[in-house]
C-alpha cells in the first residue's frame, strides 16, 4: 500500500470492508475493474468513481479512488459534471439497472447522445436488491417479485439496443463470473474516448432465482469482434434476446463532448485574490 504515485497495485485499490452478500455477482465486477485499472497503470488518484444508490453503487466504498457516492439515479450527471471539472482524470460510473435505467433513465439517454468521456458500468441483476427484491426495468416479462405479485406486465428494457440506436460510441455487455473477459472489456471501455456503456450481467444470489449464473452460462452467446454497423449489432442483440457477451459496437470517430467543445477546458483554474479589474471594465462596456 502506498499513498505516493507509483506503479499501482491491486492493494492500492483496496477500499472499505465489503458488505455484499456472499456469492454476489458484483464481486466479479469490482475485481475486473480494479484489475483493468492496474493493467492500464492508472493510479487511484487519477480515477473518480461515481455511483448512485444501491448494492452496485457501493463500488466507490469498496475500492480506493476519488469517489463520490451520490444519489439514486443521479450518478451519470454527477459524473459528467466531474469530468467537466477534472478533464484529465478517468471518470468511472457504477450503478445498477434500477438506478441507471429506472430513475436515471433520462440521464442515461442523454449521456449516450452527449458522448462525454465517461465509463458507465451497469451491474444488471434484473432487480432492486438493496430494497429487498422489487421488479426493475430489466426484469423479465412475467417475473414475480414483491411488487409484481401476479407477474411483471412490462417488457424488459433492452439497454444495449437503446444505447446503440441512440448513438452510443462504445456498447458492450459483460458477465460477472467471466472476470478475465470483463477485465478486457473494461480496459477497452476505459481507453475509449467517449461514453462507454458496459452492461454487466451480475446475478443477485439472494433475490433473483431466474437470472442465475447457470442460466447465463447456458444461454450467453459470445461476441468476438464488434459489429461494423449499428444495425447488425442491434439485430444480433435482438436475435439473442440480449443474452450476448462482448463488445457489440464501437465508434471511434465521433468526438467526445469535450473534444467537440473545440477549446481546452480549464474549469479548475481559478485565481484567488482580487477580481480582474481590466476585464471588469472591458465587460462593463456592454452595459454603458
Amino acid at each position: 500500500m502506498s499513498i505516493a504515485p507509483s506503479a499501482p497495485t491491486l492493494k492500492d485499490y483496496r477500499g472499505d470492508v465489503n458488505t455484499w452478500c456472499p456469492g454476489c455477482g458484483h464481486f466479479g465486477v469490482l475485481a475486473a475493474l480494479q484489475r483493468a485499472l492496474v493493467n492500464l497503470k492508472i493510479s487511484p488518484h487519477e480515477v473518480i468513481t461515481v455511483s448512485g444508490i444501491g448494492c452496485s453503487s457501493k463500488v466507490p466504498e469498496y475500492m480506493r479512488s476519488y469517489g463520490f457516492h451520490s444519489l439514486h439515479g443521479r450518478a451519470l450527471p454527477v459524473a459528467q459534471g466531474a469530468k467537466m471539472g477534472a478533464k484529465d482524470l478517468h471518470v468511472i460510473v457504477t450503478g445498477g439497472d434500477g438506478d441507471g435505467y429506472g430513475i436515471g433513465g433520462n440521464h442515461f439517454l442523454h449521456a449516450v447522445r452527449r458522448n462525454m468521456d465517461v465509463t458507465y458500468i451497469v451491474m444488471d441483476n434484473g432487480l432492486y436488491s438493496l430494497t429487498k427484491g422489487q421488479t426493475s426495468p430489466t426484469s423479465p416479462l412475467g417475473f414475480v417479485t414483491r411488487t409484481t405479485v401476479y407477474g411483471n406486465k412490462e417488457r424488459p428494457l433492452d439497454a444495449l439496443s437503446v444505447a446503440i440506436a441512440a448513438g452510443g460510441t462504445f456498447v458492450a455487455q459483460g458477465f460477472s463470473s467471466d472476470v478475465k473477459r470483463l477485465t478486457e472489456i473494461l480496459e477497452r471501455a476505459i481507453q475509449h474516448r467517449g461514453f462507454a456503456l458496459v452492461n454487466v450481467l451480475s446475478p443477485c444470489v439472494t433475490y433473483n432465482k431466474v437470472l442465475t449464473y447457470d442460466y447465463y452460462k447456458e444461454h450467453l452467446v459470445t461476441v468476438e469482434e464488434p459489429f461494423p454497423t449499428r444495425e447488425e449489432a442491434i439485430r444480433f442483440v435482438k436475435e439473442h434476446r440480449g443474452l450476448v457477451h462482448g463488445i457489440l459496437f464501437v465508434d471511434p470517430e465521433t468526438p467526445d463532448y469535450q473534444t467537440a467543445l473545440g477549446y481546452e477546458l480549464r474549469t479548475r483554474e481559478i485565481d484567488e485574490g482580487p477580481m480582474d479589474e481590466a476585464l471588469l471594465r472591458e465587460l462593463e462596456e456592454e452595459f454603458r
Binding site: G67, R74, A79, G85, L261, M275
Partner: protein, 632 residues
C-alpha cells in the same frame, strides 16, 4: 450650463448639440394649432421643465414593444438620467398584451414608479388597462384611423395612424420609431439621441433601413410639434456620470459570477432565469469554462455538484418549478459538503403558476428545502447593484463553507434594468476556502484521506481529485471522517455537529440595509420590493409619519442579534409579494416580534405601487396605535 463629461459610446453629435443648444430651440416656437379644425386656445408658450419622466408603451407581443421601450430607456440613460424599467409580458411568443415601463429620474432609485406621463398604445387594451396609472395632464398616444387630438377627463388623447404613416415613409415596421419620435418631441429630447441608437441597432441592415427609421423618428417629432405643441415640456439634459451602468438583475448575477471566477454552469431553460445562462454561454468558453444546457433540472444541479466536487466553480440557475425538482440534490450538497450555488429567479407559483409574473413566494421553500438538517446560506440582493456583489460572494461562501448557497432573485429584479453605479472590483475578493495542497496532504500521510475531518470551525480541508496524496471518498450517506459509510451514534453525531457548526457567526458584508433605524415603524422587505418600499417610506415621512426601512439580504443564517436590536419592540411591517407573509413568518420564527408586526402582501403577479404601500401602511400604523391604546 455644466459641460457634460466626455465618455465613450456617447453620441458625439449629441454632446455637441447639447453644448451648443443648452435649451432646445423648437420649444420656443409658438404652438401650432392642432389639425382637424380644433384651435389651440391656450395661447402662449406652455413649455415647462419635467423633473422626471414616466413613460409606458403597450401592445401585442411580437410588435416590438420591448425594443421600443429599450431604445427610449437607453436613450434617457445616456441623456444622464437614472433609468428604471419594468416589462410585463405573457407566457406566449406572439399576441397577448405586453407593456414596458420606463422611468427616468435625476436621482438614483430602485423603482420604476406608479404613474405615467406618456402612454403609447398599439392595441386596444393599453388604454383601459393602464388608464388608472395616468398622471393628471398625461398624454396618451394611440394607433388609430386618422389624426385626432382630444382632451379627455384628465389626459390628452392623441390618435395617429402610425402604421399608415410608417408605410408611407417606406417602412411599416417603423411605426414604433414614429411613436418614439412623438415621445421625443413631447419632452424636447434632441433627436440625435435616437439617431445614435438607430445607427447602432440597424447597422447590419444597411443605410436604407437606417434612413427610413430616422425619417420615422423625424416624422414623430413633426407630429408632436404639429398636434401636441401645447403639451410639450422639457426634460432638461443632465450631467452624464461616466460611472454608471444600465443592466438587469439577471445580467448582474451572470456578470458578478463571471468576475468571481465562475467556470461551470449547468441549467435547464426556464423563465425568468434563462438570461443568466444565456449571458454566460457566450462568455465562459473564452476562459476555458463551460455552460451546459442539460436534460432536466435535476441534471442542472447534479452536473454542477459533480463539477464542483472535481474543482470547478459551479452554479445552477432556475426558477420555482425547477428549484422544486432540484430539492433532493440540495440535500446532497449539504450531506456531501459539496459547494454549489443555486440561483432562484422567482416567478409566481405554486406549481407552474404564472410563468411570466412576479412573486416572492419561494422563500419558505428555499429556507427549508430538502429533507434532513443541514446548513444552508440564503442571500437575496435587493438591487441590481447588489445582485452583482452577492453573486460573487455566493461563489466564495459556497466554497468556503462547502455547502449550498441560494442566491434568491425575483422576476421584477431579474428581468428589469436599472441605472447602477459601476462595480468596485475590490469589494469582493475571490476566495476558495480550505483546499488541500499536495504538500499538506503528503504531510498527513493518510491512505484514506479524512475528507470529513472533525474540525473546530466545522469546515474540513477539501482535496480536489487528482491530488496524489489525498485520495478520498465524498458521500451522500452518513460517514466517518474518511467518507466511508458509518451509522454509529458517534460518527453520526460528530458529523452532524461538525456540519451544523460551519455557519456560526457568518455575516456577509451587507446582511441588510437600514434607513431611519430609530423610527417607530420599520418597513421590511427583500428583493425588488425595495424600490416601491423606499419611495413609500419617503412619502410617509414627508407626511410626518415616523417610518424607516430595512432591506434584508442575508436570510439564512439570519443575523438574529443585529435584527433583535433593530426590530424587537418596534412596529414591523413586512412588504412582500406572496399571500402568507413568508418573510414575516421567518422573522417571527427567530425574533419575539409577534405582537407588533404585520404584513402588506400582494400576490397578483404585478409589482407593488408605492401608493398602495403608503395607504396600507397608514392603516397598519393606525391599527397599531389603536391596539397600543387599548393595551394601555
Amino acid at each position: 450650463m455644466p459641460q457634460p463629461a466626455e465618455r465613450k459610446n456617447f453620441p458625439k453629435e449629441m454632446l455637441q448639440y447639447r453644448s451648443r443648444f443648452p435649451i432646445l430651440s423648437h420649444i420656443h416656437k409658438p404652438p401650432v394649432p392642432a389639425r382637424g379644425g380644433r384651435k389651440n386656445t391656450r395661447g402662449g408658450v406652455k413649455s415647462m421643465e419635467l423633473a422626471a419622466l414616466e413613460w409606458k408603451v403597450g401592445g401585442q407581443q411580437g410588435e416590438g414593444i420591448d425594443s421600443t421601450g429599450e431604445v427610449l430607456a437607453r436613450t434617457l440613460f445616456r441623456y444622464g438620467y437614472y433609468v428604471t424599467t419594468y416589462r410585463q409580458f405573457e407566457s406566449r411568443i406572439k399576441g397577448g398584451h405586453t407593456d414596458f415601463k420606463v422611468r427616468a429620474t435625476p436621482a438614483p432609485t430602485h423603482f420604476h414608479g406608479d404613474k405615467v406621463d406618456i402612454l403609447v398604445g398599439f392595441d386596444d387594451e393599453t388604454l383601459p388597462v393602464h388608464r388608472p396609472e395616468l398622471k393628471p395632464g398625461a398624454v396618451v398616444i394611440l394607433e388609430g384611423d386618422g389624426i385626432k387630438v382630444t382632451e379627455e377627463d384628465g389626459y390628452t388623447l392623441a390618435v395617429f395612424p402610425l402604421k399608415a404613416i410608417a408605410t408611407e415613409l417606406g417602412n411599416p415596421l417603423a411605426k414604433n420609431m414614429i411613436a418614439l419620435g412623438i415621445t421625443g418631441g413631447l419632452i424636447s429630447l434632441p433627436r440625435e439621441a435616437f439617431y445614435h441608437f438607430i445607427e447602432e441597432q440597424f447597422k447590419r441592415k444597411g443605410a436604407d433601413v437606417i434612413a427610413s427609421n430616422k425619417r420615422a423618428v423625424d416624422r414623430g417629432y413633426e407630429l408632436a410639434q404639429e398636434h401636441l405643441a401645447h403639451k410639450v415640456k422639457t426634460l432638461p439634459p443632465r450631467d452624464i456620470d461616466p460611472n454608471r451602468l444600465y443592466l438587469s438583475g439577471n445580467e448582474a448575477i451572470a456578470f458578478g459570477a463571471y468576475m468571481a471566477g465562475l467556470t461551470f454552469l449547468s441549467a435547464y431553460p426556464i423563465t425568468p432565469a434563462s438570461e443568466i445562462m444565456e449571458w454566460l454561454a457566450a462568455k465562459l468558453p473564452k476562459r476555458g469554462g463551460a455552460v451546459m444546457q442539460v436534460e432536466d433540472e435535476i441534471a442542472g444541479i447534479t452536473f454542477a455538484i459533480g463539477a464542483s466536487f472535481a474543482g470547478a466553480r459551479a452554479m445552477t440557475t432556475s426558477s420555482g418549478p425547477g428549484i422544486a425538482l432540484k430539492t433532493e440534490a440540495i440535500a446532497l450538497a449539504g450531506e456531501s459538503e459539496t459547494p454549489v450555488v443555486v440561483v432562484d429567479v422567482q416567478r409566481a407559483g405554486p406549481s407552474t403558476g404564472m410563468p411570466t409574473r412576479h412573486e416572492q413566494g419561494d422563500l419558505n421553500h428555499l429556507l427549508h428545502a430538502a429533507h434532513g438538517d443541514f446548513p444552508r446560506i440564503v442571500l437575496y440582493p435587493s438591487s441590481v447593484e447588489d445582485a452583482f456583489y452577492l453573486a460573487a460572494e455566493a461563489l466564495n461562501l459556497a466554497e468556503i463553507y462547502q455547502t449550498v448557497v441560494f442566491l434568491v432573485s425575483d422576476l421584477g429584479l431579474g428581468m428589469n434594468k436599472q441605472t447602477t453605479p459601476r462595480f468596485d472590483p475590490r469589494r469582493v475578493e475571490i476566495r476558495r476556502g480550505k483546499i488541500v495542497s499536495e504538500e499538506e496532504a503528503r504531510a498527513l500521510g493518510e491512505f484514506f484521506f479524512k475528507r470529513y475531518r472533525i474540525t473546530e470551525d466545522g469546515i474540513s480541508p477539501r482535496p480536489l481529485p487528482g491530488n496524489p496524496y489525498a485520495v478520498a471518498l465524498t458521500s451522500s450517506n452518513e460517514h466517518r471522517e474518511d467518507g466511508h459509510i458509518d451509522e454509529t451514534i458517534e460518527a453520526r453525531n460528530a458529523q452532524m455537529e461538525k456540519r451544523m457548526r460551519k455557519l456560526r457567526g457568518l455575516r456577509i458584508r451587507n446582511p441588510f440595509y437600514v434607513d431611519h433605524p430609530d423610527a417607530a415603524t420599520l418597513l421590511v422587505a427583500v428583493g425588488s420590493a425595495r424600490g416601491p418600499v423606499e419611495e413609500a417610506a419617503a412619502a410617509l415621512r414627508e407626511e410626518g409619519y415616523d417610518v424607516g426601512t430595512l432591506f434584508l439580504q442575508q436570510l439564512a443564517p439570519l443575523p438574529v442579534e443585529e435584527l433583535r436590536t433593530l426590530l424587537v419592540g418596534r412596529h414591523v411591517i413586512t412588504v412582500e409579494h406572496n399571500y402568507t407573509g413568508q418573510l414575516l413568518g421567518w422573522l417571527r420564527r427567530h425574533l419575539p416580534i409577534h405582537e407588533h408586526s404585520t404584513t402588506i402582501t400582494q400576490y397578483d403577479g404585478r409589482p407593488f405601487f408605492a401608493e398602495r404601500i403608503v395607504r396600507e401602511a397608514k392603516e397598519r400604523i393606525a391599527d397599531e396605535h389603536r391596539a397600543e391604546r387599548a393595551h394601555a
